[in-house]
């Protein structure tokens, strides 16, 4: 009898311990994280706390797991829908201006005074190899050396040009159109670069005269 009582109380004690040790559910932890993010930041210069509000793509790509297929499809479809094509069907600008933009990593931080695209760089070399002459390049994105040449664009009249130009324009305007969780910023869609600046980057990549395609 006593032994049973002892046993029972031991069981009860263990149950109690187990209850104490129960860690919060994933949903509770999500809520804790959301609260921490909300309370930890303040406005500074052009970087306001509304930058923490996530759209569908940002929210769906905020864990070590990829979003489910339906969500990914929706993100890509919506991204494609946002793309604005260049006025007059003019895809290319000046590759020299493009190289300058590609080198420039500035813009949109709280130490930048203006959010105007003209104050921003393209950050391209931070993540990509582009012109081989620049040895200081990043590897988060693929190499873009010979980008146009490798895709068969030897001259601008080539039939290969139009589809590649359209593809590249979309990639620069809203990279999420082709990969829901792409690491690449959405330069056109987020107003990081304007239409003319994107034309310059397009020329850097596609113009047969650009050093990238030599």
């Amino acid at each position: 009898m006593n032994r049973i009582r002892l046993l029972l109380s031991a069981v009860a004690a263990m149950a109690l311990l187990a209850a104490c040790a129960t860690s919060p559910s994933p949903a509770e932890l999500d809520a804790r994280a959301a609260a921490a993010i909300k309370s930890s930041f303040r406005d500074q210069g052009i970087a306001k706390t509304d930058r923490l509000n996530q759209d569908l793509g940002q929210a769906a790509c905020s864990s070590d797991k990829v979003p489910d297929e339906a969500t990914a499809d929706r993100i890509m479809a919506e991204a494609l829908y946002t793309v604005k094509w260049p006025a007059g069907g003019q895809f290319l600008g000046d590759w020299r201006a493009g190289e300058k933009l590609a080198q420039d990593g500035r813009g949109m931080t709280w130490t930048d005074s203006s959010a105007d695209p003209n104050a921003n760089g393209g950050n391209c070399y931070n993540c990509h190899q582009i012109d081989k002459k620049e040895i200081s390049y990043g590897t988060i994105g693929p190499s873009l050396w010979n980008y146009g040449k490798n895709r068969g664009i030897d001259d601008l009249a080539s039939p290969a040009f139009a589809p590649i130009a359209q593809y590249t324009w979309v990639k620069l305007w809203n990279s999420k159109a082709y990969a829901a969780c792409s690491n690449m910023p959405r330069f056109g869609h987020m107003k990081l670069l304007d239409q003319n600046q994107i034309r310059h980057l397009m020329a850097l990549l596609l113009d047969p005269a650009s050093p990238v395609n030599r």
């Binding site: 040790a21 930890s40 930041f41 306001k48």
Partner: protein, 265 residues
């Protein structure tokens, strides 16, 4: 014949490219090696050591009774166990936020005032110097953050979520740059901070002297500038997200040897 020549040229070009790349990496390694002997972080270390035992503040007291987690006054080994839970403040704290607590309770400084001070100025510069010396006292030791308290485990989980949180104008999260192996920004290798990146890499290298601007950077400033480059708004000093991220990186770095204070680009 023509094709063969072309292939030959292409192969040559490839080789030249690979060689140039190797020599760039070697050159940078050689440069970094040259800087190691004579790290200006030593200047900050010396300042921090003096500050620890100096009687200062409204209470004219030293920090020698400050508890960094291993008991009052124990400095050696404390750095590699932080952030951790502190019962007196009922908070998980990193080295810098803990130092501010000690400066408030022992020396009578206004904690809120210090937290508001920009990096490199006034008492905030002193916090950085103290953190530099305290980190140096654990040089060569291995990270081993406690995870026994429920709040320490929760903080880790919050940190993991913050690490992957995408936002801002560029859609960046910490993981955009630090979630993979073998990536670089420009020539700077990016440690994968979702696991132990190795001895003296990532969390195990800060505080560090920044060559580019000649400043001593603490982990709080390192995180602050990560968020700036991420195009996020401004994280408060010692805010929940910064402590949670430090906990996430510190726990992931379990077993990694600390080389702090290091010297960085």
């Amino acid at each position: 014949m023509k094709t063969r020549t072309l292939i030959g040229v292409a192969a040559l070009a490839l080789c030249a490219g690979a060689q140039a790349q190797k020599s760039t990496a070697d050159g940078i390694a050689e440069y970094r090696k040259m800087l190691e002997d004579g790290n200006p972080a030593e200047l900050f270390e010396a300042k921090g050591e003096a500050l620890w035992s100096q009687k200062r503040g409204p209470k004219n007291a030293s920090l020698e009774r400050c508890d960094l987690g291993l008991g009052p006054g124990v400095v050696k080994g404390a750095f590699v166990t932080l952030p951790r839970w502190f019962a007196d403040t009922q908070k998980v704290q990193d080295l810098e936020s803990r130092l501010v607590s000690c400066m408030a309770t022992l020396q009578g400084f206004d904690a809120a005032e210090i937290v508001k001070t920009p990096f490199g100025r006034g008492e905030m510069a002193n916090v950085t110097a103290l953190a530099t010396w305290i980190a140096a006292e654990s040089r060569g030791m291995r990270f081993n953050l406690p995870q026994s308290h429920a709040q320490e485990r929760i903080t880790y989980e919050v940190g993991k979520r913050a690490f992957f949180y995408r936002g801002g104008t560029h859609d960046f999260s910490c993981a955009s740059c630090h979630g993979d192996e073998g990536k670089r920004i420009r020539l700077q290798e990016l440690p994968n901070l979702t696991r132990n990146p190795g001895d003296g890499i990532g969390f195990a290298a800060w505080p560090a002297y920044r060559v580019s601007n000649g400043q001593m950077w603490s982990m709080q400033l390192r995180l602050n500038d990560c968020f700036r480059q991420q195009r996020f708004p401004y994280p408060g000093f010692g805010s929940d997200v910064t402590i949670a991220l430090a906990t996430y990186m510190g726990v992931n770095a379990k077993g990694a040897e600390s080389i702090a204070p290091a010297i960085k680009r």
